[in-house]
Every structure is written in structure tokens, then in C-alpha cells.
Point group: C3
Chain length 659, copies 3
Amino acid sequence: MPSLHDATRGRLLFGGDYNPEQWPEEVWADDVRLMKEAGVNSVTVGVFSWARIEPRPGAREFGWLDRLMDLLHAHGVGVVLATPTSSPPPWMGALHPETLPRAEDGTVVSYGSRQHFCPSSPVYRRYAAALTEDLAARYADHPALTVWHINNEYCTHCWCDETAAHFRRWLTARHTTTDALNEAWGTAFWSQRYDTWSQVLPPRKAQYMRNPAQVLDFKRFTSDALLECFTAERDIVARHSPHIPVTTNFMPMWAGQDGWAWAEQEDVVSVDVYPDSRDPQGGQYNAMLADMTRSQAGGPWMLMEQAAGGVNWRPVNQPKPAGLNRLWSLQSVARGADAVCYFQWRQSRQGAEKFHSAMLPHAGEGGRTFGEVKRIGAELARIGGKVAGTHSTADVAVLHDWDAWWASAQEGRPSTLVDYPDLVRAWHRALWENGTATDFARPESGLDGYRVVVVPQLYLLRDAAVDNLIAYVRGGGTLVCGFFTGVADEDDRVRPGGMDSRLRELFGIRRVHEWWPLDAGTTVECEGLRGTLWSEELEPDGSAETVSAYRGGELDGLPAVLRKGSAWYVSTLPEPEALRGLLGRVTREAGVRPVLEGLPEGVEAVRRGGLLFLLHHGSSTVTVELPEGGWRDLLTGTAAGGRVELGRFGVAVLEDGPA
Amino acid sequence: MPSLHDATRGRLLFGGDYNPEQWPEEVWADDVRLMKEAGVNSVTVGVFSWARIEPRPGAREFGWLDRLMDLLHAHGVGVVLATPTSSPPPWMGALHPETLPRAEDGTVVSYGSRQHFCPSSPVYRRYAAALTEDLAARYADHPALTVWHINNEYCTHCWCDETAAHFRRWLTARHTTTDALNEAWGTAFWSQRYDTWSQVLPPRKAQYMRNPAQVLDFKRFTSDALLECFTAERDIVARHSPHIPVTTNFMPMWAGQDGWAWAEQEDVVSVDVYPDSRDPQGGQYNAMLADMTRSQAGGPWMLMEQAAGGVNWRPVNQPKPAGLNRLWSLQSVARGADAVCYFQWRQSRQGAEKFHSAMLPHAGEGGRTFGEVKRIGAELARIGGKVAGTHSTADVAVLHDWDAWWASAQEGRPSTLVDYPDLVRAWHRALWENGTATDFARPESGLDGYRVVVVPQLYLLRDAAVDNLIAYVRGGGTLVCGFFTGVADEDDRVRPGGMDSRLRELFGIRRVHEWWPLDAGTTVECEGLRGTLWSEELEPDGSAETVSAYRGGELDGLPAVLRKGSAWYVSTLPEPEALRGLLGRVTREAGVRPVLEGLPEGVEAVRRGGLLFLLHHGSSTVTVELPEGGWRDLLTGTAAGGRVELGRFGVAVLEDGPA
Amino acid sequence: MPSLHDATRGRLLFGGDYNPEQWPEEVWADDVRLMKEAGVNSVTVGVFSWARIEPRPGAREFGWLDRLMDLLHAHGVGVVLATPTSSPPPWMGALHPETLPRAEDGTVVSYGSRQHFCPSSPVYRRYAAALTEDLAARYADHPALTVWHINNEYCTHCWCDETAAHFRRWLTARHTTTDALNEAWGTAFWSQRYDTWSQVLPPRKAQYMRNPAQVLDFKRFTSDALLECFTAERDIVARHSPHIPVTTNFMPMWAGQDGWAWAEQEDVVSVDVYPDSRDPQGGQYNAMLADMTRSQAGGPWMLMEQAAGGVNWRPVNQPKPAGLNRLWSLQSVARGADAVCYFQWRQSRQGAEKFHSAMLPHAGEGGRTFGEVKRIGAELARIGGKVAGTHSTADVAVLHDWDAWWASAQEGRPSTLVDYPDLVRAWHRALWENGTATDFARPESGLDGYRVVVVPQLYLLRDAAVDNLIAYVRGGGTLVCGFFTGVADEDDRVRPGGMDSRLRELFGIRRVHEWWPLDAGTTVECEGLRGTLWSEELEPDGSAETVSAYRGGELDGLPAVLRKGSAWYVSTLPEPEALRGLLGRVTREAGVRPVLEGLPEGVEAVRRGGLLFLLHHGSSTVTVELPEGGWRDLLTGTAAGGRVELGRFGVAVLEDGPA
């Protein structure tokens, strides 16, 4: 099986999306000149080129792409070649309106933007396969080709009649009979029993809340329908070039695709990452996405898109301050990225994203942004040989699951204020601020390698996952579990007692009387901490220690945090400082140490392979005392002595060696 | 005519919606055991059972229901049997898409939730009637049957073409000719004149504001169209079992049905009541809904649904604190309920409402919620014989009218901040806090029995209602009238001068120069009070006393509150304390006394039959001094002495008798 | 060419929309009596009379209008006669559903409100033309007729298939070939290339951001499509009565019509003006709309609609306090209006606007509002002979352009907080508060007559406009230019470097590194001012003076305001006081003086013809010292001495003459 290694070959990839079809060919020469200047060794080509290659049904215009591939190869730039299937040309929507998605209310999503295809449309799939076939045949052996990039940010949803038929086929495969479907969906409620498959529809616009199990299955189906689109194209390119790894770029923490299931189908896991430069926790968010993507990849991964400056889809879009692009780029490398790429190489003059930043901005090669890009390119080249392909380890795993997310994000829940990604981020943040190296894992993954497993929230927990968690604790592992976990089974059926009975036994909970979500802007006092978002009326069974009890309010004196041996249950979301303290205590007791002790505020330390990355997210200048031994800073090429000084957004990449 | 008495027979009913189709039959035995334990003597069955009874067009599966009815009867539990017509099975929407409602913009409302039927659809009506016929024939003489429950929370709206045709028939009956329609709707404005009936449509999606008289008639029509659905089914069940009373459950203060008109068609008036447990005025809201429902029923009524704990449709859903369920349940009884029921008996594990609380929650029979339910059941059994069927009296009536509400809730009004239900609630609250027993009445009702009549706001006032109010005052009654009343006639046509001239004469107003609605968050100073929401530039005619004048602002010195004899006009909404003071003065002068004088803060006293209910809405422990005489507390069965002590949410039900 | 002068003939017109079709004819006699009393000499008739004149297809009922025209003429009231084509009768939508607009998502906009026509519909246009033909033939020579009023507030948008076909014809005329279209729209981005014209659609509902050049062209097209509707009717009435001027009423600062292009097609420019009476800057807004309309008209203009009191479309609608109607009416006259009219004469009792105020309100002729109307009528009659037809001059022009507005208001921009009309208003406000007489002009207009030209923002700047601005500065003019100007060319294509290179040279800017829009609620410190909304990372080329530099933050020390000779560039939006100061300095240096020096706070001075208007927008009583010379107040008919005292909302209209 090909892997990212086949593309990196001992280097870090550096570059970005390159859309030369937007520019006259005379600009291309300027592009390759500036790519060389910036140290660009990889560009992603063809993402939105369908109308260029197939300007009318069945036509093929590859000449420009031939010239481009040759030009890039001649200048030593490798090509991540995309199938352009995410944005069909206008002729498809005009000729085959049934390929256009329909919204929940049945209205048509027109062409004129991007991603306007129904993933269940046979016509769309046929055209996409045909084009992929020809593209793969033509470039399979081109020397510039390094990675196949299928489609782009799969994210379309559709509720049309073709989707309905496809959904029914998917449901038949899953549930076999309408009786089983009715049982799984609980259609006895509200008289929703389906008598024949033909009656089953996607969850369309309705009077009131829709069936949550139907909605959950539709989310699963949509992820799978898109995955079929991916694997169909992947199989075509793999047949033509079995030696070339295949990827598609995820959106970060994106609800539309089950990232675990998709990653299994990719040779290379890649992701698009757009933290907000004004977010004080932007660095943590970047770290979290890196940890998650590395965990999906099981090793080095590809940062397929980030912004050199600002984006253009936030209400207010600010550029990155000087140094932030470099900081976050090197942070991604520290956390496993073997490729640092951008959307896009040259900023567009036209179209919907002309105010999205690029490596080469409107300000041109003299602009501040391009200056920083060149510095990053040079530094990646300097450290690439020591970094590329190396792995990192962690003693802590955070469990994350799309089913649990999907099931928890529905109508009719106890609280609309509880947001699954926010919870994952809050728990990861506590670990990150403690300097604890962290992986992500699936609820059913083998967890033996971890000293501590953290569950921010898994509202839905399959039986096998319950088994897994219990076995993990019995095997000596430490489990810390956030509120409203283990409530539902695979079909979003509430487990008797409102929480799985074995889990209750694990944590020493006799009974969950009631969930008490908190109103917006309110908190709940507990011993030693203040809780947010949620609280629970728990009746302990006497076997657990109450680590913290609620104080005042309706739950006065009841346990907020319970601990039974190495199993912890946290029935609220502690404020950041308190959650950090709690996880600090738990990990310390479990023998987990931070990557480096005694770091100044704002400094992150990461080990990858034999290297130690120091990343400073603050503005002041700080001094970091290094561990015993001799250290050399690969970025400066100088010996570090016993300490390193880091200015605003400063980075050091240290190698243990002769001082 | 059958009545609620035929179902209660000297008891208070206690129970809830029971949806056994969601559970395997082995659970049923557990259900009846726990019902007995909780004192449940009535359950509502079949509300959402259409797909279970008629799994495909024309099929009938009654076996399970036969077994259930027998089981319940064997255990002494009466059945409120529902026609399951509020949620057609999927086969109906699939086979007859024209039965599905269409939204204002023409998009289809699909099945997959509930209440997805067009009330004007002949196909829907035909299926509903056929099923009702068979259901009624089968169970008319079943000994468990106590009440027929038609459909559920009628609330669908539809703008489809069949609705349009039905609307035209309704309009033809109302207006006879298109000329009269054009006159009533004022279609000379904006060139909306209809030349033929066939041009008339429901008020669909439009560029700008729609014709308000058309919208008003469409609201009337929709209420009537739903009422036709009700009466059609009612007539069927009544034919089969003339001795069994019939009801349908209202939503509280619900705009979709004219509650007065509907109540006339019911043997039993029932309502679903869901105050927010976090609302400091939740107790008053519960009292208001009880007063309104009792007034609609003309006596005892049925609390068809409430929540034992939290609901699941608010943004944040909290349970009820210990004791609140009991307090509000007994408050409903105090104010005329002869049935205290819940949605639902056993909390669902699946479906859209699995996080809606139930009498028997996920926590099971050991849960706190079920404990309180059992206590309530026992107490209702204890007091039932003394309470059931008894009446109460009031000296004050609040006027309420759906036409006025509908007409005032439209686009293009002086202020979108004025909300009709909020006004009704504000005025009722002042009376409630004063301890004044209060009924509701229609603007045209006989009012002679009341010392004081309160009009929070009747923007639209029919001629007969104007006559009625004037006759009432001439007959010695005291009338207190809120702002923006009497502005429009039955067709939402502004009366000359902006307020009916006879009303102006009644209050001593020569001219209404301008309405001055207040901006959000602003108030207006008046002598002795602060006004909110609204003010008016009034020119008095010299015959009235200015009770309070505006101070400062554009209306400085103009009258805010006018009084001419026993007719009061209040041109703003006084802040709660001031409105309470104003109504205290008015009622006192009219000889109205509170139920009990000198009550501690938070304690409500209600008389029903010969009993005195004391209900404590606060948290502190308070002592209530009782009137002369000997009192016995029916809940404890002990003599009360001269005083009663009430803790948080405490209740006493006192009978005058030997101490 | 006829002009407004043909209608005014030395008087100021005073009156309003008159909709007698809403009233029985016996009311008409009362109307003309009260019109005489109020000094009304002009009414607008027929705006919404289509269904009255053509109650069914092809019918003609003119009798009522004959009688009305005769009646008005007999009472000396001139008629602005409208073609009633803005609101087709219901029969048209019922018989020809394709005349109804479709929204972006394809749903139908029904009749039942107003303006429910697709401007591209041939059927609609055919009916409109036929009716206009007959109307014009019948009344062309009626002695009451003074002005033709075509349609009303053109504002419909449509995305239907007929619109699509029309849009394609318009695009073909503009771009000639699909290649040119693809080039202009930048369809190489996101694979949007059009292979044939038939594929091109209006920008309908899409997954994500739509092509901005397509959206821009669609806005241009919609303005032009509506303009075709206008000119078609204009040509008909002009053929019948070449001596009668033609107008259509603009909505103020309305995005839907390119006011400059439309004004060229009108004999009379008229506008509907609805400042919020609670807006502290309402007077400035009224002034700005007057300045803009006067500039479009090139002289006297017609205030076609304003409100005598409140409107009914704001969330909270308050009346005008006493005197405000008079103040704003005379302010409009001071700034060039030769007609002061209202929507509407008599307040409706029915329909969607019955709570919109009128000259003759619900309160009737005894109401406060009508009292003020009579006073205004009398005063306009008094000053009319001296005012009507006169012109005014200004040394400052503000540039305004619909293309720039349209292009800047799209998705995917740096900041959604930047609102073009707000910017224009902020800059005009600074000039207004400085007492600087101001015109508006187009970017390509001859600017030689102005000492100072102000550009609040012209994001899109055509090449000719760049030429024009540069020539203007070279010719000695002073140019002050707000941020984010000159960024895009005519097709919304970003100019190389992010700002036109010649403009950069003009202002002394070497490079625009980045735009830094500000977050909501934040500001940026600069030397001598505080900036809002926006900042820019500019690299000066050394040829300009830094008037103010950023202080602190990411841009510390970089220029905020640059000046190179008489060319100023302001890269943020200074707070109001600071912008006022900056423009005060610039205009002073350019030799521009305020209309009057040393005015008390809140007093506005305007010169028109030989008259000096003093308008007091405040509540206190103030004294204005008059310039040397003798002054007579035309409103009081008395000599003014050396000073004038003005109370709340006070006005003086002064003529230089014997004291």
C-alpha cells in the first residue's frame, strides 16, 4: 500500500493549491520562479478544473494540464493531482437538473457556486467516473505526480427523490427488514411505522421534531454515500497507479463525514485547518486538529490547506499577525504533519474567494505575507530530513466518535447549549495547557497503550464501546468521563436507567434521577470548582468517593465528581482552570508527565521523533530552561546552551546532541 | 348530554398518556402494577396509534388494544380513548401526497414527525372518519371507556390548493358575494379587488405585508376547518356511545383555535399545561390557564397533560424541583380541575420526545420523580370525594377573545413589542397577586354576575361587544380597560376616530390624537406609576377624572389613566406593582375582597366548593393565620388550629369543620 | 423637454397620495373641502387603482376617475396621475401565474400584497402597456393633469425562468460572447465556465458563496429590467402628452435601482423619504437624501412621499413630535424640493397600511397632525413664489455609485460590518455638521466646479473614474478618499496590488500589504483620532505626509491618514467628531466656508436662491446672529433685526432686504 512516505521521500512537503486555469500561461513562468524562491516543492492541481477539462459533455481538454505538469516537473515541484469532481460544470446542471441537490424543503440548490451535486445521482457518478478514468490514465505515470487528491471537502447533503431511493437501499442493507427498521427507529412513537420500504424518506421539512433515529441514520447514510463517491474514484486512480497514495481533504471537526471510517479508506489522511487568528485558543485548536488527524492517520499526515493570512468567510476577516503563520505551521509539523500546504498559491483576482489570502497575495512578492512564506519554506527544508516520517507517542487518549456527535446534536435534547465539538475542545484544551501529549481514539479502539483515557462526552455508546471501556479500567487504565455519556445505544435508544447500568456500576452511581442543564450564562458551585453547562442529580451507590459535591441550588450536597478507583465521572463541565487542575491530578496519579516541566506561560513543548519543538503562543519574550544534555536548534543551526529565548510567536526545533 | 362527571363519578382522575404500543406486552403488567401503586385511575390511550391499528390502508389491528383495554379495566384503570387521527401513518403521505400540508411558500411539509395532515383534505378526512367509525363501534361499550379524546393538540396550518378551495367555500358562506368580500377585506387598497371567487387564495408568501383582513379570515377559517375535523369525529363517537363525554385537548393560550367556539362543541374541556419551572411567575401562569379553562368549561375541567419534570422543547430543559409538580397539580385542582394527568405515563426510550419527562421516568420506580407522583396520587385520592364536581365563584372577569388576538398579531401594527398573551398575563398577574378570584369571559358574555370586568386589550371589538360593555357599565358594573382597545371592527376596519366613539364617550375621551408605542427597554413616567410598552396622546372631553397624567416627554400633562364613574381607561401598561395597586384600588372600591386577607408573600388562597386551598409558591417557611372557625387539613387529616405552617412549595387543603 | 417647472409654475406643490377608490364618493367632497383648508394644490392619484380600472382582463372603468379628475380640477387641485402598474389585480396572477415573481429558492411570490410582478414577464408588460395607453389617451389633455407618475417604488426582484432568458439577452448585449462572459465573471474559479448562453442563470440558491460578478451583473440587470418597464410606460404617456413631465418615485438610498441612470430617463426626479423620528441624526439623513435627489435632478426635485406622523413598518412606530413634520418639510424645500407631498392624504381604515400616518389622520380634522399640516400648507404658499424653481450651489461633492455599492455588498468580503450606505451617511454627516453645502456626484462626473471631492468608499472604480479623479487632483482639486477604494475594476476584478496603481501613486502608497477590518465594538487608536470599522497595513512610498499614524496594535506606527498635496487617503473610518474635524481642516484649506459661521448647536443654515433657511433640530431655544444686512422672515412676514430666535424645531426663512 502506498503511503505519504512515497510522496515526501525524506522531505517535508511545502506548497498549496495551485489554480493556473485562472491565469494566462505567461503568469505560470512567474509562478514557478516564485515557487522556487519560496521553497515550494508540492502543489495541488486541478481541484476546480472540471469545466476546463470537460468544457462540454464528453469533451477532453488536457493540453494545458500536460504543459503545466511538465513545467512543474521541470522545476522540481511535485503535483498532488485532484479529480475535479467537487464542482460539476454548469452544463451538467443545465442538462441533468436531477444531479442538483434539493434542500430539506424540496427547493433546488442551483449551480453557480460549488459542490452542487447530489451524491446519490447516478448521472453525476457516471460523469465523475468517466473523467477520473481518463485523468488517471493520462497522468498515472507522469513523473510530477506524487499524490492523488479525490474531490474536495466532501460536504454536500441532498434530500431529493434519488437520494431517498439510495437511502432506502442503504437502510435495507443495514436493517434488512422494515420490522427491524421500525424497531431501530422507534416508529411506534407518533405513528411513524413504515409498512413498506417505499414509504421511507430522508428527514424532510416537517411540522415539528423529526424522528431522531431517522435523522441519525440519514447522517450515517450521507457520510457513506459520499464515501462511495470517494472510493469509486479512488479505485479508478489506484488501478492506474497503484504506487501513488490517495487522499481527500477533510474539513476540520466536520460533522458531515465520519473521519475514522473515511481515514481507513485513504492512503494519506489530509485536512484543511483554519483557526481564527483572533481566537486566544487558536493555537490549542490547531494542536487539537493535528492530534486528531495524526490519530486518524496513525502517523504522519498532510496539512492540505491553511491560510497564509485571513480567510473570507468569517463575519470579520483579519490577516495573521507577523509570525503566526510560521508558528502554526511548525506546530503542525511538531504534531505530525509531513506537509504544510495552503489554499492557495496565488490569490485570485476574481470569484468568490478573491479575498481569501494566499501564499502570494494581492500585494505580490514584496508583500509581508510572501516574506513569511519564504521563511517557512526555508525552515521546513532545513528540518525536513530530521522530521519527515517520524512518529510521536502519547500516554493519554481522548475518545471521539461521529455517531455520538450526530446523535447528540439533534432536536429535543435536554439543552441546546451543549455543543459536542466545544466539549471535545474544552477537554483537549485542559490537556494541552498541562503540556500533556495526547492522541485521539475511537470508543472501540485498543486502549491498552494509554495510561489515561478521557471521554469529553459520548452520549451514544455502542455495546462494544461499553465493553471496551470497562475492560480498559479493569486492566488498570484510568478513565475520566464527562457528563451525559453512555445514555443511548447505537440506535439512539435511551438505555434503561438513563445511563448504561455497567457504566453506572463502574463509576459507583446507583441512579441518575435527573439531568439539570444550566441556563445560558449561569454556573453551579461545587467543592473546589465551578461547573458550567450542565449538572446531574446522581444517587451514588456508596462504592465511590465524592471528589467534589454540588453546593447550594437544587443539587446541594449531591456528588458532582465521583471517583471509583481509576474511574472518574464528572457530571458538569468544570471551568477551564478547574478542568485543567482536575486532569492534572488524574494524569499525575496515573504516572503521566508533561512533555516538559516548568514551561513559561504560553510555551508549548512537543516531541516528535528525536526532536523537541518549543512553540511560544504569547507576545512577551520568555526564556525556556532546557532539560539536561546538549541541544542544537535546527532552525538557527546553533547550539542552544541550557536555555532558549523565545520572542512573540517564537519557535525552536531542538535536537539532542553535542552542545 | 354527558359531562366530565360521568367520568369522575366523585373522584379526581389521575394518570396520563399511556402509549403501550411503544413497549413489549410484558412491560404492560409492570405498568398496571405501578399505576396501582401510584393511584392512577385514568390513562389516555391511542393518541398516536393510527399506524398500529391501520398499518396499511383499510387494515384493522385491534387485538392489542382489546387486550390493553381489558387489562386496564381489570386493574381499575379507566381509559380516555383517543382517535389517533393527529398523526397519519407514512402510507397516507406516500400514497396521497395531497394530504400533506404545504407551507406559506408552497413547500411540502413531509411526514416523519407528527400532525402532517391538511385539515381540508377530503382524503385525510375520509380515512379519519372510517377509522373513527370502527374504533367507536368496537369500544363504545367497553367498561374501561370513560372519555373520548378526539385527535390531539389540533394545530396544523396549510396553504395548499385544496385548502384554497375550502377557504373559498368558507368565505362564500361568510361573505356571500365577492363584493362583500372586497368590502370586508378593503381590497380597494393595493389593487387587491377579487373579480371572481376562484382568484381568492390563502395568504401565501408575498413581497410585503399581506392584507390583514384576509389573514384574519384565514385564521378564523383554519380554526373552523380544524373544528370541522373535530366535530366530524365527535359525531361518530357520540352516535356509538351517547353516554360517553367527548373532549379534545387544547394547547394553552394557543392562537390556532378559538377556544370559546371549540369549548361549545365539547362535553369536557381539557388542556395541556406546561409552565416553565424556572419562570418566577410559573404559578401565576398555571393559575391563569386554570381560570381560562374553567371559564371555557363553565365548571370542572380536565388537565389532560402536564409534565412530571422537564419538557424537551425549550432551549434548556430543567426538571421540576422537588414539590413543584405537587404544588401545581393541587393548584389546578383548587382552580377547578377534576383530572390531573400527564404526558406521559412511562418515559419513552425512543422517538422525538424521549427526553420529555414522564410519571415513570428513565430513573424508574426508584426515581425521585415517581416518588412525588405517588404522593400526589395518594393525596388526590384523599381529597377527591370532597372536591370532584364542585364549583367556585369569582367577582372579577377578564375578557379574552381570539378574534382580537388574531387581529392584533399582524404585520404593520404600531408596535411589534405588544404581545397579546403577555398583556392578558400581565393583567391576570395583578389580580392573582392581589388574591382576587378571577374568571375569564368573552366580550359578548353576560357580565352581570361580576363586580369588575377587566379588558387587558381588545383591539378588535365587535359592535355587540361594544354594546355589551356599555350596558354593563350602565348597569352599575366597573370596567377597567387597557390601551388600544375598541380600535377595529369585526373586519379589522379601524373605527372612525381610531377608537369606537361610544367607548370614547364612556371613558371621557374626545379624541385619540396618536398612539405612542414605547421603544424596547424604555418606560414612561406617570403620576404614581411607570408605564411600559405603550402610551397614548389623548384629548379628554372634560367629563372624566385624570387619575394619572404623563410626566415629561411628548405627552407631558396628558392623561395616562382616566376614570369616568366606574369606567376606567389605562392608556399604558403600568409596571407590575403599579398595575397591582391600580387593580387593588378598583376592585376594593367595587366591593371585591381577596380570598383571604393578610397572606404571607408567595401564598395563594383559593376556595373551591367548601374547601380552602393554601398554596405556597415560595421557598421559605411561612405561617398562615386562618379565618375564624375550625379547620381540618384534608391532606394530613389533622386539625389545623388557628394557623398553618407551609414550607417550600407547601400545600394545605382545609375544610371548615370541628377543630 | 417638460420639467418640474411645468407643474409648479411658480408655486411649491403641496399634497399627497390620494386613494379615493378606498372611500365612498360622498367622502370626496369632504376631501376637497379639507384640501382647500390645508392648502393642498397637488395630489397623486391612481397608484394602486389597476383593479379598479381594469376589474377583469381588458375591461376599462374610467368613470370614477373622470369624476375625480373633474372634481379636483374644479377645486384647483392638480393631479400627479399614476400608471397603476405596480400592483396587478389578482386576476393576472390567477390567469397568468408566470407573471408572479419567484424567489431565489424558486418558491412563488403570490399576489395578496403588492408589487407581485416579474419585471421580465412579457404578459405583465403587455397588460401594463395596454392600460397605460388607454389611461394616457384619456387624460393626456385633462386640465388637472400636471405630472405623470409611472408605477411606484420599483423594487421587485425575480429569479424565474423568464427572468433567466431575459438576463441572458441582457448579458449577450453586454458581453457579446460566452468567452467574454467567462472572462468577466472569472468562471475559471470553481469550474463555473459557461459553454453556451442557455446554461446561464440568475444567481439562485446555492451551497455556498455565489459568483460575485454574476451577482453584480444580476443587480445591474434587475435595475435595467425595471428601467425598461419604466421607459416603456414613459414613452406611451409622453407620446400622448409631450408637454407633461414624467417621474417615478425612488425609494431613498435604495439598492435596487441605479438612481443616476434612472434620473437620466425622468423629466422630474422624485423620492420617498422616511427618516425615523427617533433617530438623533434624522435631520442629517433628510438633508442627505435631499442633496442626493437634488444632485440626481440637477435642480429642483419632488418630495413625493413622506409621513405626516409615524410609519407602520418599523418594529416600533412612533408619531412625529409636534413641529418635526414642519421642520423636515422646510428643510427639504431649503435643499431643493419644489414639492412637499405625503403618503397619504387620508389615512386608510383598511388594508396593510392603515396604521401608516396620513395628512388627515384617524383623529380627523381636529387632530394635532392635521393642524400641523395646515400650517405647513399655509407657509409653503407664503414662500412658494420666492423659492420655486431656484437653485443652490455647493463647493463640495460626495461621490456615490451604485456599481460600487452593489459590488461591495456581497458575500465573502473582508468584513460584513462595512455597510456602504452607512459610510456615505457618516461622511455626509461630517460635512453637514460642519455646515458645508454639499452635492452628490458620480465618479465620472465633471468635478471642476468643486473645491473638494469626498469619496466615502468606492470599492469598485471603473477606469474612467480613476482617470477622472486623477485629472481632478491634477487640476487643483482636493480629493479625500475613504478606505477600500479603487480595489476592483468594472467586473469586480481585484486590481493588481489590491488597489489601482495610479491611485496608489496619487496618495503616495507603495503597497497595500493587508486590510485589517475591525471587530464589532472595537476601535483603533491613531494620532489625533480613533478609527472604527477598518484599518489598513499600508507601506508609504515616501512621497506623502503621514497626517495620522496608527498607535499600538499590529499596525503601530504605520500611516492611518496620508496626504500627498491635495490628495488625502483615510484608511479607517474616524469617529464622527474626528471625521468632522478632518473634513473641516480639508475644506478650510481648500477655501470652502460653511454657509454660516458660529451657529448654535443643532442649527442648520441653507441657502437656496436668494433665501437663507435657518433650521433648528434641537429642543432648546437658541439665538442665531445674522450676517450683516437687513433680513425679513418670510414665514412671519416681519423684519428679523440682527438675530433670530428659534425654539424647538424652529425655522426661519430669511430674505435679504430692507430691515
